[in-house]
Symmetry: C2
Subunit: 167 residues, 2 copies
Amino acid sequence: MNYEEAKNKFISTWGSLGSLWGINKAMAQIHALLLISPEPLSMEDIMEELHISRGNASMNLRQLMDWGIVFKENKIGERKEYFTSEKDVQELAKQIAKERSRRELQPTIKILNDVSNINEDGSDKTKELIKQTKALHEMAETLDIMMNKVVGQGNNWITKALVKLVK
Amino acid sequence: MNYEEAKNKFISTWGSLGSLWGINKAMAQIHALLLISPEPLSMEDIMEELHISRGNASMNLRQLMDWGIVFKENKIGERKEYFTSEKDVQELAKQIAKERSRRELQPTIKILNDVSNINEDGSDKTKELIKQTKALHEMAETLDIMMNKVVGQGNNWITKALVKLVK
DNA sequence: TTAAACTTTCAATGTTTTTTGAAAGTTTAA
DNA sequence: TTAAACTTTCAAAAAACATTGAAAGTTTAA
């Protein structure tokens, strides 16, 4: 496999993986491209490499910046904007975990909490609803703590120790 | 909030969360319904509760069984098939983690491995591609271990200890 | 056997999401 | 100021994905 093949394989894999994880293909592909690019790229560069339209590039770059994993960069003496991705995968994971917690997990936790606090009326179905949503609530909170405190935090020794322990 | 409201809220929340996690809405809703149902339900019951067609119910039930989180059950003397979900959320998480590892993470790890092993040709871009895919490969393997060995395994004391440690 | 009771399949249809591209908007240099 | 260089927005088109429902398939009781 030569460089071009490897690059394309990586970009398209990352792209289809992205959609499984709730971000769209173009967004994931732009991210993949920036991640392996030693130099910042302009919007023009990105459109060309990935064969996507200007609008598409613009919108997805914005989303990536909202996620905090892609940044604008300005070359002195140039009007054009350039983009780079967070290159440290530890930091990348931290940022992604943090955002997914905020966008998905926390709203879910709130609803699980509301639902699990309805009035116990003695019926089987109410008991089951309360029991199961309580259990999910507890699990979601554990997961939330993991995502915010364990992933990518400076205390990465925890992960290493854990992996050694269970491997 | 009464039982009906709470139930509907739970089902629709679980349904839209599902699509964020890569399974479709009907599938997630069927799962939610079975999770809080004290009795096994027939396909008819499910179609009625969720207002979905027979075909839809059939296909998504099959997928849930493929994921190993929903089971067929036969009532004696009855021809009809009934369905229940895995009720233990710990076991549920284990099963989901295992399947996602198998379906998504492991194929990705393989590709990251292939890509990170291309010939180093001395160019900056090749160096960067190798460096980044190696880092992602390592991270993906750590995550894979976590998903298969830590989540839901009998050794749940690990999770508890970890949460206490970092909370 | 047969036929009733049930489940599965799949082409057609409907829905949602993504993408395009051209017009509107913004910034900067002169 | 103006106009060139660039970015953003958004309605319309395309693509992807989910759902329906009727026909085909399967199982079981008699």
